[in-house]
Symmetry: C2
Subunit: 221 residues, 2 copies
Amino acid sequence: MEGKEISQAVIRRMPRYYRHLGELLEEGVERISSNDLSRRMNVTASQIRQDLNNFGVFGHQGYGYNVNYLYEEIGKILGVNERHNIIVIGAGNLGLALANYVKFEKLGFVIIGLFDINPALKGMSVRGIPVYMLDELEAFCKKNRIDIAALTVPKQKAEAMAHRLVSNGIHAIWNFVHVDLEFSEEEVVVENVHLSDSLMQLSYNMIQKRQDAIRAEKKTE
Amino acid sequence: MEGKEISQAVIRRMPRYYRHLGELLEEGVERISSNDLSRRMNVTASQIRQDLNNFGVFGHQGYGYNVNYLYEEIGKILGVNERHNIIVIGAGNLGLALANYVKFEKLGFVIIGLFDINPALKGMSVRGIPVYMLDELEAFCKKNRIDIAALTVPKQKAEAMAHRLVSNGIHAIWNFVHVDLEFSEEEVVVENVHLSDSLMQLSYNMIQKRQDAIRAEKKTE
DNA sequence: TAGATTGTTAATCGATTAACAATC
DNA sequence: TAGATTGTTAATCGATTAACAATC
């Protein structure tokens, strides 16, 4: 069909390459070999070369990779610097934190509106981003091109809201709610940020580390 | 040494099992087979059984798994419901959002203090959680048992701050800063939440989906 | 040219899935 | 007991690493 799909394992690593190349650029480094980059990033040079070659040929034998060129190319692959309009559904603490975060904008991801049901928020704005009432959503979606919706609503409302977003033509959901949204992959692209899952993983690893330390101590006795 | 390590791929799935079992519990379901759970969670029954058997034997042949028992056991594995004290370094938007988030507390993860350098925040508190000045950190760490530090400081200060935390006896860092902290694994456990990486991954998948849709259309013509 | 380093094929490793004997 | 379903071993699949010919 459309050539071989690139695995999410690879995709997940691309932003990290992008970040490190950005740092190299700031440091004024002009070119870098997969080997030097691998030492810097704590991965194998082989993996770097394999990952990149999923997307095309970016290096030169005997030379390595031009930092600026590779940075730009990965940027294109990830859609950075294209403009993406985001709306945030739910103007709670997390929603507001997202709206206040300036970093995303620098990457081309611009939050153009917050939506909530709380009438007390009506007419307010955050960093110039207006807060709308949820019943204005349909009209807003008709007037504006929206690429991504960040979902930060209460758990109980997440599934219904996600479907409402989809029926308004939104096909990418950045889901901060602690539920698994049930969609077929053709309908929507969902990216989950499950903070409590992340916290539990940290917790497990912490406990493990403690027990390892205890075991190590016992062995020394 | 300490038996075979369980892979992070497995650990990452455990919170999701925990969540689904919690839902089943709420629904009043008493027992469940790996097969039924697999359909519900969109994974293979085989994977569920393999994952669980990393940690012990929780089921009964011919019966399946007792929902409540399995829920409790996974909770123990993940350290949920043990009390974990958290401090948040950086009382910016994200730090405040974390402090305002009540969910973590229900899982036993309690934020007991926020730290910042902004003197305007001195003496303030969020949901009863006091904001301290960063120069009070050392004293605070001596007086309180701290399990986890959430790091939400500006990029330039992250590395130094992380080392300062470690030298104050903190061995688990929940890193929200868009940098890779350089530590040996014996020193600290780090769990990264890189929101812009997550956003870029979403962006890539979104672009991909669009192009697939275009290709599909062309084929229909 | 000689040295460096890629792109890519082949080998290895690990994770997922399938199969099935054990047993409730 | 017969049926269901586990725990676990074996088979498969995919991802990572190693190796090396191509080439700048």
